[in-house]
Subunit: 339 residues, 2 copies
């Protein structure tokens, strides 16, 4: 475990730096942190009782409640000596908001539990929170609970996000039908360069699409287009053909390939887009006529700057195929990044 924090690719220079030796008791630290949580973060109109009691209370009576949890570990999801703690805090919250987006849920609240390395606990806790705050504010998410622990191990951060279904109902993974087009937001691949920490959860995009268009199924791309498409297809009991030449490849994926070619890299930009993961874009099953309308009008472009791309079609036969520009399909085995 390292307690000096660097930046990914030098994009974040102003780091609050080295760990102090802990000279407070854990108790005081937890009290201080809870006080920060109570004062520094936005609230939400549905919060009836926030941080400070044995549990929080939400007024969930108007609409159904959506819940999700994700946990990040040092060495797997981030390296403490290569990335700013603020980015880690941001990511821990953002991956959960992305799950809410995949359900077309309106975010309401979050709870955060951390295991902090003893020697950096005092500095890390507020830095993690600092990284979350812009997202909490942007999406009106109240921090309603937390559990702060220190230990001899590495950093672990677990966030649970709570949202509510809107009057348009939830997106689900099940619901894709043979003939539905496969649409994806944004571009894919190479998230390791930076986007895995700084991606924007597609909350607003999901809420807009759910409110204005007919979407049969949805998932967010957390572990790679190929693997998450397979998950959606499996829940919907269908298969999927990906049009290889239509997959929107991110500049990051292309940059990665250029960097790799200087060393020993062998992955193509398409392979990065198919298998890298952590893009946190929305993958949608859309009836063909609705897809045509969406692609013609590109409703997410004007205010959100997010393109929608048609990358293939769902089919009745279970399985996943990659189709080239000559129309030749070969079956592929779904794979991706698994934590």
């Amino acid at each position: 475990m390292h307690c000096t924090h660097g930046a990914v690719n030098g994009h974040l220079r102003d780091l609050s730096g080295l760990c102090e030796k802990r000279n407070n008791t854990d108790h005081n630290m937890e009290l201080e942190f809870i006080e920060q949580l109570r004062q520094g973060v936005p609230t939400n109109e549905l919060v009836r009782l926030g941080i400070g009691d044995d549990a929080a209370i939400l007024d969930t009576r108007r609409l159904e409640t959506v819940l999700t949890v994700d946990l990040l570990t040092e060495g797997v999801d981030f390296l403490l000596d290569e990335v700013a703690p603020q980015w880690i805090g941001r990511k821990a919250l953002a991956v959960n908001l992305s799950d809410l987006a995949a359900m077309a849920a309106q975010p309401v609240a979050a709870l955060v539990a951390v295991a902090l390395p003893k020697e950096c606990a005092k500095t890390l806790a507020p830095q993690l929170l600092e990284g979350m705050t812009p997202l909490l504010q942007k999406y009106n998410v109240a921090l309603i609970g937390g559990d702060t622990n220190t230990w001899d191990g590495g950093l672990v951060i677990s966030v649970m996000a709570i949202g509510r279904v809107t009057e348009h109902g939830p997106f689900k993974r099940s619901g894709a039908k043979p003939g539905d087009r496969i649409l994806v937001t944004g571009t894919l691949g190479g998230s390791i360069l930076r986007r895995q920490f700084l991606f924007e959860p597609r909350i607003n995009e999901a809420l807009y699409l759910n409110g204005h268009h007919r979407i049969n199924a949805a998932i967010d791309v957390s572990d790679g287009l190929s693997l998450d498409l397979a998950r959606l297809a499996a829940e919907s009991k269908v298969g999927a053909i990906i049009d290889a030449h239509h997959v929107p490849i991110s500049d990051d994926a292309k940059q990665l390939v250029e960097q790799q070619s200087e060393t020993q890299g062998t992955k193509s930009p398409l392979e990065h887009a198919l298998y890298d993961g952590e893009d946190f874009e929305l993958l949608l099953a859309v009836p063909p006529e609705e897809a045509e309308r969406l692609l013609a009008t590109q409703p997410l472009m004007p205010t959100m700057g997010v393109p929608l791309t048609d990358i293939g079609v769902f089919v009745a036969e279970p399985g996943q195929w990659l189709r080239d520009h000559n129309g030749v399909s070969r079956q592929i085995s779904p794979q991706g990044f698994v934590h």
Copy 2:
């Protein structure tokens, strides 16, 4: 990190034992585990969508929702080579249910996130779940979400529990008034011997008391009578006098003192009861006439076998005092076990 599991004080002999080397991919392991979760655990009538999508959905529309999170770490909350993984899983859930009890909330669902040591992941995951299952069943708690991670570090388990407020409203920490009696369920101290893992969350007791009696405030004793009483008093803006000779001391606390006297122990049974923590009993602020009724009828004894004891009184002046059997009070500084 040790992957052989022993028992606390030899009370659990049948352990599933040594870790296998992981020969499955993480992906397969997570899928297997999710399949177990989907099949093996109880559900709850409020679950609209359980494990298997990007998030779960609860029908929370009838009553307000209560949420809490707790995280346990290896080396602080348990030692993997001294305690059965089933006990760890049980405790991770039970501490959250105890928080729901402290709010007089009816349990509904839970989400579990784990960071598993790589070399034991495959055996640990089902063992942790196995330890939770009896409590899930007993209190009708649906497991609606999870995140399974493997890493090079020790075991971390984070559980979030969701409950609902009943028609009698929640217990809160605020609400204690000067003159209110301090009542506690069960006995205190020495939980390290075994009770820290095998305690019964006071769900049924809390629901009964909330439904039939006037309780002004409540908290569960997680970090010690002294410290948790101070927390309740602080939220209620009152002080508290503890009648030392009325504190119900557990047999475990007495046994600990006997064991200590053979070595170098210096704590008295009362000190164990005041400061040990992890008793997970309910601490209640009760109006005097209501307290008298409760103590006379002992309504939790017949079916739950749980005594209620009057251990003192709330006062207007902030602070904590310990009063001896001669009526002499000395101010004490709240302390306890802090994770």
